[in-house]
């Protein structure tokens, strides 16, 4: 158990509305990530954070923003949800070092449906 909690776990929202997904970790990890999972695409990185207020874009960042005001919380916001953002969203934490490499541990996922 990597101590990661995602909320909400399931959400249905309407096109054009803003949506925020929350990721909370209990183990003080510096690195946090948001991935989305879609059939045939595996997992794709949306944004990541390497410290409080330090974030950067991943490969599919358009339409998403993130914030990290505290070590333990990493928020993902869909500014104006579209049907193409219907997906499963996974938060993850990263451990780096000689014994860990760049090992990532995942939360349980948030299922988002945009109608």
């Amino acid at each position: 158990d990597a101590g990661i909690t995602q909320s909400p776990r399931h959400k249905v929202t309407e096109t054009g509305t803003p949506v925020t997904l929350r990721c909370h970790q209990t183990e003080n990890h510096r690195y946090m990530y948001w991935y989305r999972q879609d059939p045939g695409h595996g997992l794709r990185l949306i944004h990541y954070s390497y410290g409080v207020k330090d974030t950067d874009k991943g490969e599919v960042s358009d339409g998403y923003s993130v914030s990290r005001s505290k070590t333990e919380d990493f928020l993902l916001t869909l500014e104006s949800a579209t049907s193409s953002q219907t997906s499963v969203y996974f938060c993850a934490i990263g451990q780096r070092g000689p014994d860990s490499g760049n090992t990532i541990y995942f939360g349980e996922g948030s299922w988002l449906t945009v109608v």
């Binding site: 690195y31 990530y33 991935y35 045939g40 695409h41 595996g42 997992l43 794709r44 990185l45 990541y48 390497y50 950067d56 991943g58 996974f90 990263g94 780096r96 000689p98 014994d99 860990s100 490499g101 760049n102 090992t103 990532i104 541990y105 995942f106 939360g107 349980e108 996922g109």
Partner: protein, 115 residues
């Protein structure tokens, strides 16, 4: 930059038979390699990882993988599968010095174990 190709999208196999899930990667720098397993409606669980040293890596649930640098492969094997191994398996790569410790994932292989 790195990329990952999982050569089989679906692998059906009978219970107690051996299985190999194939993964090739591309990278201009040294890498860390990972296999994750995802059971239905769950997050991803780390099966095993290659950081350095012995090219044969053993993981949980009786799985092992072999790193072949010359063939840029990291194939996952199990000598005898169980029904409970039915899941989706993801291969992932990370450049050793990449900023943020990001993982790049393959598209996944669905392992279906039949009685």
């Amino acid at each position: 930059a790195q990329s990952v190709t999982q050569l089989d999208s679906q692998v059906p196999v009978f219970e107690e038979a051996p299985v190999e899930l194939r993964c090739n990667y591309s990278s201009s720098v040294s890498v860390y390699l990972f296999w994750y397993v995802q059971y239905p409606n769950q997050g991803l669980q780390l099966l095993l990882k290659y950081l350095s040293g012995s090219t044969l890596v053993k993981g949980i649930n009786g799985f092992e993988a072999e790193f072949n640098k010359s063939k840029t492969s990291f194939h996952l094997r199990k000598p005898s599968v169980h029904i409970s191994d039915t899941a989706e398996y993801f291969c992932a790569v990370s450049g050793i010095n990449n900023q943020g410790g990001k993982l790049i994932f393959g598209q996944g292989t669905e392992l279906s174990v039949k009685p």
